[in-house]
Amino acid sequence: MRSPLSLIPHPDSFTSRLRGPEIASRVGLWLGISFLLAFVTGLISHAAQDMPGWLTFPTRPVSFYRITQGVHVISGTAAVPLLLVKLWSVFPKLFDRFTFGDVRRLALQLAERLSIALLVSAAIFQLVTGLANSAQWYPWSFSFRSTHYAVAWIAIGALIVHIAVKLPGIRRALSGPLDDDLARTSEQGPSRRGFLRTTWVATGVAVLTTAGATVPWLRQVSIFGVRSGDGPAGIPINVSAVAARVIPAATNPAYALEVRNGGKQVTLTRADLEAMEQTTAELPIACVEGWSASGEWRGVRVRDLLALVDAAEDADVEVTSLQMQGAFRQTTLPANFAQDPLTLLALELNGEGLSLDHGHPCRLIAPNRPGVLQTKWVKRMEVLA
């Protein structure tokens, strides 16, 4: 009678020639690159939203954040087929037997298993939560942004440990031949070369079918893009006026913008704002969820408004929305953004009056700034001491 343990497959039970270091190292290389890209652009996005005191996020290039956040989501999306193939190629290793006789070897094996478990779980976690977030789907109760950030460090840390452990094997596999052509005949089914090519095709299809949400010329082929790019005045919206529950306040005829600097305060109606010098700027709205679109915004320069209350040029500004709740109801506009000639309190978008969903009566639009910080339905700007 066979013991139940014998039902567990052994690494040798897997007979496909396609599994193994030849595929794992080549796919792993690109998977590593995509994770590194996602990690670095993720750090940039984190800094753009939560500027540490020692750093000043630049206002140029205007589309820098649009590009880095686009790369973030695109590289994460590309990593899905790569990760699936990578895991498939090394799956037999899951059934490697432990050597219980040798304590030192057993400890090493357990440590490596733990690091792989961390790596695989963190990698899957990052891709699943990132993709769901890009489609604004939150089937969990942990805080997305801070958890995605914390697990990113675990994923990249475990990845670097994994590379350190496997480096000799990786070098050997990458410099060795892909297919052992001599042993191959057409009787054996698909070749490693063909399988690798399939993986690149799957990765390419993953990118092309989604990237249109941020790359305008891909819009037609991006059948799985989270946004078609349409919306009021030709620009999509992230949070609607209904969702923010601002319609009564935003349509109130008594609306007036408050600009404050200590005891000094001016109040400006929409007509007052329209009577000031208007500036037009072509600026992207680039969302943390990865979609972006460029628009022609027209309105009053924020620095002109701040000059009305004699704000210092090195003072940060707190921008408050009419919306009553939400994490981004109030944001801090750093001094370099507040004084930038392209930072506007916009009244128009693409030649139309700002729609309610885009932030009527007026909204903040600054160069190189994440969409969540481009405060809509602005109620008050207060110069911080």
Partner: protein, 147 residues
Amino acid sequence: MGEADGGSGVKVLRGLLFMLGLAGLAWGGKQLLGLGFDNLTITGVWLAAGVLAHDAVLAPLVLVMALIAVRVVPVWLRGPLAAGLVVLGSVTLLAVPVLGRFGARADNPTLLDRDYVGGWLVLAAITLAGVAVASLISWHRHRSVLR
């Protein structure tokens, strides 16, 4: 590790990478702990669920499909069929959030505003056409080898 592994330079590099990776892990762990116990528990459940979904569901499923394919699918069709399934399968998996439109909101028509199922059918049709063409080529090659 001998010369084949690249000598002492590689050893130093590996050591540095190892420490760097551990530092990343430690920093991530610290961040995660800082988010509170409830957050940590749910994150742990999701981390474990992801591995289980792959190792205990998806991987065995693919394995069973491959075992069946080896028995019933002729050799010349295996490569093209596997390629088609890898492309369509992986892209379908990553499109689950948009295909299900789970995040759609009645108040925001600009979000998830495509015909995703229609798009999927087009992709499936293109993949199928690609598999058909590749199979034809593979079948021809197979016949000429046998002859």
